[in-house]
Every structure is written in structure tokens, then in C-alpha cells.
Amino acid sequence: MINWLSQVASITFFNLRTIPHRKGAAVTAAVGIAGVVAVFVGVFSIAEGFRAAMTVAGPDDVAIVLRSGSDSEMTSGLSREEVRLIADAPGVARMPGGPLASAELFVIINLPKRSTGTDANVPLRGVEKAAAAVRGDIRIVEGRMFEPGRNEVVVGVGAARACSGLGLGRAIRVGQTEWKVVGIFSGGGGAAESEIWTDAAVLQPAYHRGDSFQSVYARLTSPQAFQEFKDALTTNPRLKVKVLRQAEYLAEQSSMLTGFIKGFGVIIASLMALGALFGALNTMYSAVAARTHEIATLRALGFGASPIILSVMVESLALALVGGAVGAAAAYVAFDGFQAATINWQTFSQVAFAFTVTPRLLTYAVTWAAAIGLLGGLFPALRAARLPVAAALRDT
């Protein structure tokens, strides 16, 4: 056993030391794998970032109520009467000022996107007084909150960054009226940061919405109160609504785009991995071929087959891991935190997000690299081990 280990160690060490003599092939194998890893991380960091922007962290005690049959706030509609019934339902947290529920309108407005200068659909949300308290993570970072009843808006940091003309003190035009930007808010990195908020009562007439709303956001007394709240609403004959946890709703809203990106990410990464695998195989086969003599000599000296197999695989794995590490590092530097904004077709509106390279993603990527390395080394290693000693030594 000790002997076997020392055999493995000595051949492996010998192999690794000779890599500099095969620089060209070794570097291309590593670069090929680095490319796969970089692209893998890059594509998936888009999906991760988008998902992160759409979901909220923290306790899941916020519920959203929509008209039944609607798949997003955009297509939902609730009357004043329904909204009142929802806010009064059991399970909703209460403050001295009333229930922690906000009836909201969700529309879009066209504003020029900073990166292209062309119109983008920016979500414009009409909210009630309790909206910030319901969500819990809304902070005004600049300026102040809008005053109810006035043509004033506050803008999420993501929206302010993605669209021009949303700075403090600027004005946006809706039809005949001008609304002043009086504040910038952050929302814990969530979807609200891509939105513009104003008073629902001001937004209703501007969008010809009469006295109707589209959704109700409610903070519950506890995450467990959700079932009670939901049952109370769905069994109420005067309401035809569907009740979702906010996290559930947001995950659903981002499912199409993240699914799309991930689907393509997997296809692209698999194809690339295949290409890189062929590259790695080629490198290792020629590495083995170039050392036919040495390997046969080792066998003649009494080295076993398994140390030789292992040594070739370790070499291939080492190349793959170096390539993988370089690719992952490059992707991290290039993509992590990259600010982007795209349209979410499910809400028909812009979502600002940052590419996010998570540790989990890096682990996956390096695992891919290692798998390519092992597969790429396996067949050449078997060939090396099967070399007929006498023939290989004779062959010049």
C-alpha cells in the first residue's frame, strides 16, 4: 500500500513537472475549460441576479390579494368595496392607524432608458399610506415620501439608475399633469426598487381607473396567519379573489424569464462543455502519446497500471481545475454586480437587477470543470495503462 502510494506520488509529480514542456497543448486545454466556466457563470449570474431582484428575503408574512383568474397585478382588478373587505379580514396585522394593508394600482409609464435612450415600460404603482409599513424594508434614501393627494412620486433606486429623468426634483408627465420626484427609496434589493410610487388616489383619475384598485398587499400578524387569512377571503361569497404569499407571487412572476435563461444556459454550457471535453481529450491523448516510451519504461521497471492511470487523471484534473479557477475568477470580475435592466414579460414592465455570482454558482462551475477534466483524462489514462510494454519500447 505504501509502495503503491509512493508509486502514484512519484509518477504524478513527474507528470506535473513536465507540463511546462507541453505548454501549448496544456494552455489550450485550460483555456477551453476556463471559457466554459466563464460562460456558465456569466449566463447563470443573470438568472441569479434577476431572481434575487424579484424575490424578497425575510419572514414571509406579507400576502397579496388579486382578482381570481388574473395571473399578475397588471390583469387584476378590485373594487373599493372588495378592498375594504380584504383589509378587514382576520389575520391582518393592525396598527393604531388601521389595518396594515395597502390597496394598490399597478400601471406602466413610458420613460427613456438610460442605456439606449428609447422608451421603456416603467412600473408605476399607486399605493396607500400603509404600503411602506406592509413591506417593512422600504427606506427613503434621498428626499422625502410623497404627500397624499399631491402630484408627487418617489422613485426606487433601481428605476432611478436605469431610466433618465428620474432624479430628485425632476418631473414626469402623465397626460396633462406633471408629477414631481420628491424622493428616492430603496427596498432591500427587491422588485419595488424598479418601481415608481405615488398616491393611489392621485393615480386613479390619471389612468381613468375610477375607484378601482388592482391588488391588496397586507401584512399578517404572523407567517402562520396566512392560512386563516386565505380561507376567510376565499370562502367569502362577496369576494372572488386569489390569495398568495408575496414571495410565492414574486417567484411566479419571475419564473418565465429565469426559466428561459436557465434553459438556454444549460444548453449552451452543455454544448461548450462537450467542445472543451474534446479539447481536453486531445490534449491528454497527445500527452500520453508523447510519453509512450517513458510510460513503457516505468512499466518495465515494475510500476503498476493503476498508478499510471491515476497520474494521467490527476494531470488532467489539475489542468481543468486551473482553467476552471481562472474562468470563475474572470467571470466574477467581469459579471458580478453588473447593472442591467430588462423587461419582465409577465408584468410587461422593466426590472432593474445586478448580475450576481453566488458561491453556489462558483461551486457548480468548478464541479463542471472537474468533471470535464476527469472524463478528458480517463480514456487516455486507460490507453496508457494498456500499452504493451515490449512493443512500446521497441517502437521508435
Binding site: 501549448g24 497543448a25 489550450t28 486545454a29 483555456v31 477551453g32 476556463a34 471559457g35 466554459v36 466563464a38 460562460v39 456569466g42 449566463v43 443573470i46 382578482r67 383568474g69 395571473d71 397588471m74 390583469t75 387584476s76 400601471v107 406602466i108 409609464i109 413610458n110 432608458k113 442605456s115 439606449t116 428609447t118 422608451d119 421603456a120 415600460n121 402623465v174 397626460g175 396633462q176 389612468y207 381613468h208 418565465m256 428561459f260 434553459g263 438556454f264 444548453i267 449552451i268 454544448l271 461548450m272 462537450l274 467542445g275 472543451a276 474534446f278 479539447g279 481529450l281 486531445n282 491523448y285 497527445s286 453588473f338 442591467a340 435592466a341 430588462t342 423587461i343 414579460w345 422593466q350
Partner: protein
């Protein structure tokens, strides 16, 4: 031609290496083909836009409606030939949100006249004019749900409830095809008169208008005239050429598409680098042989050509096969019709791909080929390994 045998035999010498190189080039070009198809799928709206058509929408945003009376008013503006309206219906089949597709109430005759890119047989057009609840469906959409003429389909719309909250009933009376490969045939069109009478709210409003101008050169002027006509009304408009309108949608996806394409290009070139190096290596190994060829009288130019031919042959076989595979894949139709209704590999991308195949062959082969050309016979023959 007789040298082709020599080139071919050289490739056959290390079968394993040749096939691995072939495969990696193959993969690179499959990827290239797919990338081009996806890009085209996103850009289809722009490349198919009619040059003489304008899109008129509510100035604040597309989700806000315009009065149906704007149509005749626009047709009175000089330079406007005709105006037809579309409305976003957001139909869902079988109450399943993922069974969602583009559906629009329109006025059949003006609609078909405006959108000549939709080909509908005359008898089906007549049937549509006769059937109040009739609808015409694009070819790809019928394939998605297995619909055929005569089917009755109940649909729901979260935006447009029907009076009495029943489902909307439609009878499929026609199936339209696209006039060109890139025409979107994933739409569902039904009659506005039926829609307007049965909807629970919003009577007399439509989503947006397509306007055909009489003179393509006056597009900008007519667009301004339309917006001026409705300025300072409760429903102000924004008018732009159809191409710009479609472009705007793509811009909304923003840098995202550019980034995706950037990443994919990186992929492509990484794989090419791997393949290119292997070929260079193959040539380097044969220094001695090349010396022999020169010694027996092969000219420098011929040696250069031989090496280049070898690398071009290998990229041609792998690359063309890859392009072919991508083309076949795209020809089977869209892998995700719900998101990318149009999916094909455009001819100009195939040509670009073929160009890239040979460029790759030349680039990968040129350094070794130059080396081979400059070899001094004595040095080459002395070199034994």
C-alpha cells in the same frame, strides 16, 4: 486534385485526434447556428416591419387604450391611406396561465388589407366575414394546441371579462400562413364587433393603430401630423414607424440581449482556439516529412497550400456539419413557441457561418503553414522528433 488524397491521408493518420478536432469544431458551429436563430427570433419584429406602416399608441403607455373613433379621424389626415386598430386581448386557453398567446380583436377586411404578410385563403376569409364569433389562427399556434378549422375554443381573458363572466367562445374559421419565413404566425385574430358588444367594460376603446402612409418618404411628416391632431386631448398619441416600435421592444430587453450575444461569441472563440491549436500541433509533428516533400521538389507555395488545405478541410467538414445540424434543428420549429414564435436560421447567417468556417481553417493553418513553407530542408530532415 491529386493532392487531395495526400491531404486526406494525412488527416486519417491520427484518426482519434482528427475526429476529436472535428467534433469540437462541429459543436462550435452548432452553437453559432443556434445563437443566430435566437437572435433572429428576437429581431423578427424589426426585420419584418413594413416600411410604409406606422404604429400609433397612447402617449403614456401601450397599456392605455385609445378611442375607436381615432381611426376615421386619422384617415382624414393627408398622407394617411388607411388605419386599422388592434387590441391586446391576453387570451388564455383552458384557464392555464402558461397556455397564453397573442390574441387581438380586429376588423377583418381592413386588417387583412393592411397586413398583407398574413396569407388567408379567400374562402376562409369569406367564412370569417360571415361568422360573428369566427377567428383566424396562425399556423404555429394551431400546431401548439392541435387546433383545426371548425373547432370551437373557449378562452378566458383576465383583462377583458365577458358580460356575465362567461368564457369567450370562438369558432376557428381560418388558418393563416406567413408570406415570409420570418413572419410571426403565432397570433389569434377575431372580430372586433363581437368583442366590443360582449365585453363587460371599455366599450369603444382599442389598443393601438397601424397606419399605412401613401408615400414612404413622408413617414416622419405623417407621424407628426397624427400626434399633432390629438395633442392636448385626453388621449394623446405617440406615433412611430413600425420598425422603430418593434425595435423599442427589443431595446426594453436591453443590454441583456447584447450581453447574451457577447457571452456566446466568447464561447465560440474559446472552442475555436482549442481546435486551432490542435491543428497547429498536427502540422508541427510532421516537420520531417515536410522536409522530405521539399527535398523531392515540392515548391514552397505548394507546401503552404497543402497545409492550408488540410486545416481548411478539417474545419469545412466539422463546421459545415455543425451548421447543417443547427439548420435542421431550427427547421423543426421553435423549441419554445410561447416565448419565441419565430425560429429559423436566416440564409445570411448561413453564409456568414460558411465564411467563418473557411476563415477559421485559414487562421488556424496559416502559422504552421508559413513555418512549413520557410523550412530549410536540411534543418527539417535533421530534426528527428
Amino acid at each position: 486534385m491529386r493532392f487531395l488524397v495526400l491531404v486526406w491521408n494525412n488527416l486519417k493518420r491520427k484518426k482519434l485526434r482528427t475526429s476529436l478536432t472535428l467534433l469540437s469544431i462541429f459543436v462550435a458551429f452548432v452553437l453559432f447556428g443556434l445563437l443566430c436563430s435566437i437572435r433572429e427570433a428576437f429581431m423578427a419584429g424589426v426585420s419584418m416591419a413594413g416600411a410604409d406602416r406606422l404604429v400609433v399608441r397612447h402617449k403614456v403607455s401601450l397599456i392605455m387604450n385609445l378611442p375607436v373613433t381615432y381611426g376615421p379621424r386619422m384617415e382624414r389626415i393627408p398622407g394617411v391611406e388607411s388605419a386599422v386598430h388592434w387590441t391586446w386581448f391576453n387570451a388564455i386557453y383552458q384557464d392555464e396561465p402558461k397556455n397564453f398567446f397573442g390574441s387581438f380583436p380586429v376588423n377583418p377586411e381592413p386588417f387583412l388589407a393592411m397586413h398583407s404578410e398574413y396569407l388567408l385563403p379567400e374562402d376562409q376569409k369569406q367564412a370569417w366575414l360571415k361568422t360573428r364569433t369566427g377567428a383566424i389562427v396562425g399556423r404555429t399556434l394551431t400546431q401548439r394546441f392541435g387546433w383545426k378549422i371548425g373547432d370551437r375554443v373557449p378562452l378566458t381573458s383576465p383583462i377583458w371579462p365577458r358580460k356575465g363572466d362567461q368564457a369567450w367562445e370562438f369558432e376557428i374559421v381560418g388558418i393563416y400562413d406567413g408570406a415570409q419565413k420570418g413572419t410571426d404566425t403565432s397570433g389569434f385574430f377575431f372580430r372586433y364587433d363581437y368583442f366590443d358588444e360582449a365585453r363587460a367594460r371599455g366599450e369603444g376603446t382599442v389598443g393601438w393603430y397601424f397606419v399605412r402612409v401613401t408615400d414612404v418618404n413622408r413617414v416622419a411628416e405623417v407621424a407628426n401630423a397624427i400626434d399633432a391632431e390629438f395633442a392636448n386631448s385626453p388621449y394623446e398619441t405617440k406615433t412611430e414607424p413600425e420598425g422603430a416600435f418593434a425595435q423599442g421592444f427589443i431595446q426594453q430587453m436591453g443590454n441583456f440581449t447584447t450581453i447574451l450575444i457577447g457571452i456566446l461569441s466568447a464561447v465560440f472563440f474559446t472552442i475555436l482556439l482549442v481546435a486551432g491549436n490542435t491543428m497547429a500541433q498536427a502540422v508541427r509533428e510532421r516537420t520531417g516529412e515536410l522536409g522530405v516533400l521539399k527535398a523531392v521538389g515540392f515548391s514552397n507555395g505548394l507546401v503552404l497550400a497543402l497545409v492550408l488545405a488540410e486545416s481548411c478541410l478539417i474545419t469545412a467538414v466539422g463546421g459545415l456539419a455543425g451548421l447543417g445540424a443547427a439548420w435542421l434543428f431550427a427547421a423543426r420549429g421553435s423549441p419554445i413557441p410561447a416565448i419565441l414564435p419565430v425560429f429559423y436560421l436566416p440564409t445570411e447567417n448561413v453564409i456568414l457561418g460558411v465564411g467563418l468556417v473557411f476563415a477559421l481553417g485559414l487562421v488556424a493553418g496559416i502559422l504552421p503553414a508559413l513555418q512549413a513553407m520557410r523550412l530549410q530542408i536540411a534543418v527539417a530532415l535533421r530534426k528527428t522528433d
